[in-house]
Amino acid sequence: MKKLKASMRSDLTLTILVFFTIAILVFLAITLGPKVYNGRNFQSMAFQISEFAVLAFGMGLAMLLGGIDLSIVANANLSGIMCAFVLSNAAIVASLGDGATIAIAVIVALVVGTVGGLFNGFLIAKCSVHPIVATLGTMTLYNGISTASTGGNGVSGFPKAFTNLGVATVSGVPVLFIIFMVLAIIVIFVMTYTGFGKKIYMIGENHTAARFSAINNEKCIMIIYAMAGFLAGVSGIMISARVNSSKVGYGDTYQLQAILVAVLAGISPSGGKGKMAGILLALACTQILQSAFTVWQFTPYSKKLIWGVMLLAMLFVNKIIDYLDTQKQKQLLDLQLAQDAE
């Protein structure tokens, strides 16, 4: 119990998030009850959320470094489109069969996504381009490649086996959701328990001190953005499978939401702070609200308003927590100075 209390205090943001999520869950249970809490709704939520959730994790990774990845949705669409080109190519399908085609398409999408992310990392780590500017540039570029190669039209006509993936379930749980959970657990594990994850927190906290402590900043940054790119690639595949087509401009609203979810999860936009596991909670929280909004028949625009207010409110909450923290630390320090003086 004492331990729990201590850990709650040490991560106030996460604690607030936990309570906030529980409060929302209870509130919705009372007001809406089975309208939200039913098996079918949970299943449809699981279908909808996977592609976005993967992106949110990518965004969270970039923000842990004190950066941001504006190109993540563009990268996902580009990967999806490249994947779609392979899948809809009748010649490949005819000569290799469904299984091999899908395998190639998936590999292509993952490679495209990872290379796209790696290029972000290269610009940021090796050329010292500001993350906002670098990913703004690649966002434009990736969207450009996508539009140029498709003429802005959707690419569709996939083998049945692939689109089945988008609707398949294992004892009620969508396959896409399982893929997401596996990736999420890997990312959370890597960032929480490995030396590499630790390094990322260090760089996000103070990149100069990290460099002076023999951390290879540039390599770490490239890897993180490549990871974000890989996740974008996965998301691209998920979108293609679920929607049965790939198109530029799909999921435009994901950008803002991914940042919102990361901030909500307590990941500081200036880097080095926050837990990746918080993203799971933040996702649960926003998704359940999302379906409550649907029950209440909110327009997409009102939803946007609410997201914006939540983002701002969360920034303020974090700011206040930081302020209280500093106050407490000042006291501790004065105590130590007094001891030193003795």
Partner: protein
């Protein structure tokens, strides 16, 4: 009758982590050239910040009287200081790099006059008038970024003159200047004095200080220890007051018998930083690397640590030439560097003790697949807390809640954990309280006794004398003097080193004074 421009009485200032200034009283007369002397972190820069209104003095006792009027200490700010004619030329000069010379000179005056508009003609007039006051010509359209440091300094001075400065603080103005440029600057200072402007010089370079100052005020550990008038000037006395000798540290003697060098630097050269440096350090050596700011010592250390690419020359470790392209290479080769800037380069202030001591050796804290061993990290942290006697509640405590001395111990712990063969410490006791200081010395000496090769870079001659068995003095990128073990055992080692640090500038200043 002489008027006082500034009379500060019993002024104190505390920061988070340090008591920077403790009941200091200073008086500055019209047309006086005063020097504030003291080692890094002695409180002289803090004093300037308080007077110029950049920071507020502590509440409670203490008064500031400017131009004969007492001011409200709690409301003193940059604007009110400027209105009273106080101007500061910071070490970084605080110029706007992307703007022109003329604008940089004129802007502050126009702000003071609460102007809404600017026009080129007027900006030029203000700039020209200021430059004429000190008799210097300069291209008014040049962008600050593209002119030399010496000229930037002059721009900063002119900016102050344009504001009708009555009192001009100059923080380490000569650091980045060549000998000739320094002379030009000192001439300008004399010209200002003739106009009745009080100039307060903050400098490490004692000879310069003495050639131009009317009085010297010495600070140490946040306290004012001595006021000297021109007729009392004496290098030895000054050094004595600056360093203070009431604390005696145990002197280090090398016990190790192996003469094979751990580190050898051969003909290391980097244009504009250091020139043809040869240096060797054996196991158990503590080599003191000293010299004034801008002597190239930190640049050299950064090169050895892989953060400053070498142009020419070779680094040999244990007799083998190595290529060190990054700190990762350096640590792999057994080199550690305790950096000059503790808060920004040395520590992760928002992380806890465990993170900070394990950051450089995360590889050793993980298993084969890279998973961190929590117990190992805590054990390491607790071991270092014990070894360095860090006063900290537990290993989960954030580093920013520690005092300067304890913070520095954490940095030491971080590098000791990596078990380096060569440990470079750049200014290890800046901003560290006296108690922690001697503890840190003990630790450094113990490490060397165990066979580590150590280089200490420091301004403090006393620190060097106490800890080092050999000393190398640098000046403007060159090694100018080396003291071996026998030299260091001599009674007058400290004076000789002080002399060596200042000798070159001194002989030159002496010559100048003859010609004047």
């Amino acid at each position: 009758m002489e008027k006082n421009v500034l009379v500060a009485t019993n002024i104190s200032k505390s920061y988070v982590g340090v008591r920077a200034l403790d009941k200091v009283s200073v008086t500055i007369k019209e047309g006086e050239v005063k020097c504030l002397a003291g080692e890094n972190g002695c409180g002289k820069s803090t004093f300037v910040k308080l007077m110029s209104g950049v920071e507020l003095a502590d509440k409670g006792e203490g008064t500031i009287v400017l131009n004969g009027r007492e001011i409200d200490k709690s409301k003193h700010n940059v604007i009110s200081a400027i209105n009273e004619g106080i101007q500061v030329i910071y070490q970084d000069l605080s110029l706007f790099d992307n703007m022109t010379v003329a604008e940089n000179i004129a802007l502050n005056k126009m702000i003071k006059e609460k102007r809404k508009l600017t026009n080129k003609k007027e900006v030029y007039e203000i700039a020209k008038a200021a430059l004429e006051q000190i008799g210097v010509e300069m291209d008014l359209d040049a962008i600050i970024q593209e002119i030399s440091i010496a000229n930037r300094q002059i721009v900063a001075i002119c900016r102050a003159l344009a504001l009708d400065a009555k009192l001009l603080f100059m923080d380490e103005p000569t650091t980045a200047l060549t000998k000739k440029e320094i002379e030009r600057l000192l001439d300008i200072v004399r010209a200002l004095k003739a106009k009745g402007i009080a100039v307060v010089f903050i400098s490490h370079k004692l000879d310069e200080v003495m050639s131009v100052a009317d009085s010297i005020t010495v600070f140490r550990d946040g306290k004012l220890v001595k006021n000297m008038e021109k007729d009392e000037f004496d290098v030895k006395k000054l050094v004595y007051y600056m360093t203070g000798r009431e604390v005696e540290y145990s002197h280090y003697e090398r016990k190790n018998t192996s003469d094979a060098p751990v580190l050898e630097l051969k003909n290391m050269t980097k244009t504009g930083q250091y020139n043809n440096i040869n240096l060797s350090v054996r196991a158990g050596d503590i080599v003191g690397l000293t010299g004034l700011l801008g002597s190239g010592r930190t640049e050299l250390a950064l090169s050895v640590f892989g953060l400053n690419p070498i142009e020419k020359g070779e680094i040999c470790l244990n007799g083998k030439p190595v290529k060190i392209g990054s700190p990762v290479d350096a640590v792999r080769n057994g080199i550690a560097l305790l950096p000059e800037e503790r808060a920004t380069q040395g520590l992760l202030l928002n992380k806890d003790m465990t993170d900070n001591v394990s950051v450089a050796i995360l590889k050793q804290m993980t298993n084969a697949v890279g998973i961190l061993n929590k117990k190992k990290r805590y054990d390491l942290a607790n071991q270092m807390i014990k070894r360095f006697r860090v006063r900290i509640p537990n290993a989960d405590t954030l580093i920013k809640t520690l005092s300067g001395g304890n913070q520095q111990k954490v940095v030491l712990g971080k590098w000791v954990a990596s078990e380096p063969k060569l440990f470079i410490l750049d200014s290890p006791t800046v901003g560290v309280d006296i108690g922690s200081k001697s503890e840190i010395y003990e630790q450094i000496q113990a490490l060397a006794a165990e066979g580590m090769a150590v280089i200490i870079i420091s301004d403090e001659v006393e620190e060097i004398c106490a800890n080092c068995n050999r000393v190398t003095v640098m000046f403007q990128g060159n090694i100018v003097k080396e003291f071996d073990e026998a030299d260091m055992k001599g009674e007058d080692a400290q004076d000789k080193i002080t002399e060596a640090i200042h000798s070159l500038t001194k002989s030159k200043a002496g010559k100048e004074s003859e010609t004047v």
